[in-house]
Symmetry: C2
């Protein structure tokens, strides 16, 4: 049994300062706090990193607080498009979907690509057809909360705030296995067909046993250009940097390009880091020594 299993969650980085003092912020923190303890206890009882990451991301997709799953909002064509990826650090296998509209849980679709195909990334209408063939739970567009309508409201009323933020989980389990999982419903009124870093191995998600598991959130184009998640892994593997230094350096490369966001990561000893360059990032982490839940 690994002495220090660890789970780290994020619900997106961004301008959370505008949510300060609202129940939206505290409700989301309470949700994350409860979820964190639940999946950490699963870990202690022997659940695998894969099980814990899927459970955590599914819950964040369903809760409506974050911009993924139920909390997603329509792209420019009025349709909600989902992206997700899952990487297993023990095999370096990856499954991912981009620009799909059907699954209740995009993370399950990503995981099905990993377990049930020889592929890494399936996109668009053909990926939706595959999701039906997999027998995964599908939803109609009405499932998604209408935050495009709320969008007009939250500019004038802090009582109605739209969900915000990609979600992600990185886990080190009791066997020393590491996984990373990330899911998003895009950004509000994004260009239809646009894909960010979330479903891209190396950009939004990366995991390699004995090195690191990483999930990113923020302005996806900049994380793609910086190949941010893989930068964290390479710096740790090639230079021996700590997870704190490597995530800070990778985030700096995003900021240097003009982007913003945050990164969560856990190393093979259960040390974690959660840097962000925005006014806040929904985040939660627990290992044998520490427990943190925060937004700002």
């Amino acid at each position: 049994m690994h002495p220090n299993p660890c789970v780290v969650l994020h619900g997106g980085a961004g301008n959370l300062a505008r949510y300060q003092g609202t129940t939206r912020l505290t409700d989301a923190e309470e949700f994350l706090s409860s979820l964190l303890d639940s999946v950490y206890n699963d870990l202690l009882k022997g659940a695998s990193a894969t099980e814990v990451a899927l459970t955590a991301v599914r819950a964040m997709e369903d809760c409506g607080f974050f911009h993924a799953g139920r909390g997603s909002s329509p792209a420019s064509n009025g349709v909600v498009e989902l992206d997700a990826s899952f990487m297993d650090g023990s095999t370096l296998r990856v499954g991912a979907v981009a620009s799909v509209t059907l699954p209740r849980h995009a993370i399950d679709a990503a995981y099905a690509v990993l377990t049930r195909t020889e592929h890494v990334l399936l996109v668009g209408a053909e990926a939706d057809a595959q999701i039906r063939d997999f027998g995964l739970e599908t939803v109609s567009q009405e499932w998604f909360t209408p935050c495009d309508i709320l969008g007009a409201a939250w500019e004038v009323s802090s009582a109605q705030l739209p969900p915000m933020g990609t979600v992600g989980a990185v886990v080190l389990d009791g066997q020393g296995n590491m996984v990373a999982a990330t899911s998003t419903g895009g950004t509000l009124r994004k260009t239809a067909g646009r894909v960010g870093d979330t479903p891209i191995p190396g950009a939004g998600t990366f995991a390699k046993n004995n090195v690191v598991a990483v999930s990113c959130t923020g302005h996806g184009e900049f994380f793609l250009r910086a190949v941010a998640a893989h930068t964290v892994a390479m710096r740790m593997e090639l230079l021996g940097e700590t997870v704190g230094t490597a995530t800070a350096m990778a985030l700096q490369s995003v900021v240097t390009l003009g982007g913003s966001g945050g990164i969560i990561a856990v190393d093979h000893r259960g040390n974690y880091a959660m840097p962000f360059s925005t006014s806040g990032m929904y985040r939660a982490a627990r290992n044998s020594r520490q427990r943190i839940v925060a937004a700002l």
Copy 2:
């Protein structure tokens, strides 16, 4: 003026041994030889790395010898799907398209995403709509050579061989700027909606001035999992490895996962490398000291 501008081209890595002794192989080599000299002369006359890479990839897309552009073949749903990416090493900007069906030149669509949008990656039907809006040249499916029909024939007759291989170009120009460009028509009868490494920055394509420009070809899933192109760049940047060592190490990480293929790369001094793990890779390279055109 940089003392050693360099251009390196590939037309795909794979089981080229089966083409040995055929006119298909020698015709493709002659085509690459002529293209190499033409674009190298452009470089000497002051053409930018961007111009040279686009010219070279467009020509390879049009020639029908390779599995990109006109030489593409239908996916499992009978439709040709194209992927391409372009990365400018001077700005680290990237443009890419995946699973599009309309453009004559997928590389132009990728470059238009870079120059005309704030995005990196557009996919599927919505990307096709954007390609129309850009005013790029579009073609009907009849444009693509029917190599799915030839597919039955080439098993029994070496006279009729289907096109093979993703195409790519990496260039260091007289100003010291570096770009990488990659384009593919998928793999024969691939799963519709499947996306490989070609349009993914970090996996199939990467360029960073003063470090390296990289384009990959082969079994895309393995290059995605290995984040192969970015691995080359990180090893050179963080460890100071030569382009030869770094490409060999990155290719080894693909082979370790069970994949095969090849990598072309040029460093900031105009040194290049073209390793492959298959029986052949269409390749061509020229700088002030060397000129190579080969397949096996």
